[in-house]
Amino acid sequence: MLLELKNVETYYGPIMAIRGVSLAVPEGRIVAVLGANGAGKTTILRTISGVMDPQKGEIVFAGEDIARRDPDAVMRLGLSHVPEGREVFPFLSVSENLRMGAYSRRDRARIAGDLERVYDYFPALADRGSQQASQLSGGEQQMLAIGRALMAHPRMLLLDEPSLGLSPILVHQIFEIINRINEEQGMTILVVEQNAHVALRHSHYGYVLENGRVVMDDTCEKLENSPDIQEFYLGMKDQMPRGVRRWKKRKTWR
């Protein structure tokens, strides 16, 4: 396991956002965390990358306990976080944004190589190297945020809602590229998503989060076929025999 969370609890003041979550991400895999608004998905990523500190529990990355470390220290260990909502540097150019992604590195030749590779993944960025990031479209800004994280040459990527506010075609494109990054570089990826359809199709293993708890976890294939996921996350309605639908179906994990 490259990353392992053991019984992690995180609070916003008195409010418990994460209620003892354990999850594991094996090296070279894409793991998805699904959940509705307020389920605690973003909080999990923030806790991993050190922006928030857990009250309890252990976070082990590559054999080291990284709970309660500063975000830049966690990042230097090889964990790159792509935050929700395309947090780019608005008044820096695209290429400066990308270069900032490599801030903690000194090996110039390999940074240049990584820049080439990012432009190869995201050709749209290559054409706009000198433009201000604030002038990019939403999709391009998301690409820039992912590209910037790749510039750190991480061992693992944390992606927070890469589909947020993007058109279905763009969402598909971005996930295709995420798959490519995973296959070509063997990059381990933990992705948090509301869009269960796309996330399940493009990941290997999935966790379902509700009210700060993991209620289900399985391979994405099995999750896709689970009746609960189909009804509550994929929006498929099961037609009972003779056209009768039960008025209110209960989730089996409650």
């Binding site: 975000p71 976080h81 935050p83 008044f91 900032m100 801030y103 903690s104």
Partner: protein, 257 residues
């Protein structure tokens, strides 16, 4: 982040130079370098121990804190160095430069040249160096700066070190003209007006704003009744806020809702 104690940091820089050059008799260049270094260290520590505590608080808290720090600096400077105007010898004291009909004292010429050099150096630093770009990045999006591994707290302290060092240069250049006394930092208010007119975050804007205020003051002194010279800077500030509140060269674009 606006620092209302910037003028008082300038005053401290000038007083340190008075001690080093005037009292200890160090050569002017050495005294300048040491004063800038001393203020830079002071700025760094000021951030590390005091200002860091208000990081993330509303802008207003920072404004109040820096105004308060300004009061403390003036009082301490008065205690240590006294309230009488002082000065120190410079290599160019008392000489003047003739360009055709115009006579410029070397003291004023040094201010002009020094400002120009400082601006070019700062401009290159913020545009070309890794640390300079990281400072811009941190001011634009602090959270994202954390995520890319920029040591945000240290960067903030370094920004304060630079700003205090620059203030020291300004104080030393200004010392022969305005003399060194605890109240000399009030010229910082005019500099603030210049920055607002030019647009915050823009070095050419600040230069142009300063130029406009300087010219306007001189003309007001000649053509308008007494008293208008002192008022003119603030009159222009108010006019600029009405006509072009974002400044002439705005870096911060207002969000349209």
């Amino acid at each position: 982040m606006v620092n209302f104690a910037q003028g008082d940091l300038m005053m401290l820089g000038a007083f340190v130079a008075v001690t080093l050059i005037g009292d200890f008799g160090l050569p002017w260049v050495l005294g300048l370098l040491l004063s800038v270094l001393a203020l830079a260290v002071f700025g760094y520590l000021l951030d590390a121990f005091v200002l860091r505590r208000v990081l993330g608080e509303p802008q207003f808290a920072i404004v109040m804190l820096t105004i308060g720090l300004g009061f403390i600096f003036r009082a301490v400077a008065g205690l240590v160095w006294g309230y009488d105007p002082q000065s120190f010898p410079t290599p160019y004291t008392g000489k003047s430069l003739r360009v055709g009909e115009v006579v410029v004292s070397y003291e004023n010429f040094a201010i002009l040249l020094g400002t120009l050099i400082l601006c070019v150096v700062l401009f290159l630093f913020f545009r070309r160096t890794r640390l300079g770009i990281a400072m811009q990045a941190t001011s634009q999006n602090q959270l994202a700066a954390y995520y890319v591994g920029i040591p945000v707290k240290r960067v903030f302290s370094l920004v304060w070190a630079i700003s205090a060092g620059v203030a020291a240069v300004a104080g030393i250049l200004l010392a022969p003209v305005s003399l060194v006394q605890p109240g000399m930092g009030f010229i910082g208010i005019k500099a603030f007006a210049a920055a607002v007119i030019g647009g915050f975050g823009s070095i050419p804007g600040a230069l142009l704003g300063g130029w406009i205020i300087g010219i306007a003051e001189q003309f007001a002194g000649v053509y308008l009744p007494a008293g208008f010279q002192e008022m003119s800077a603030y009159g222009i500030l108010i006019l600029a806020l009405i006509l072009r509140p974002q400044g002439l060269f705005a870096q911060i674009q207002r969000k349209k809702v």
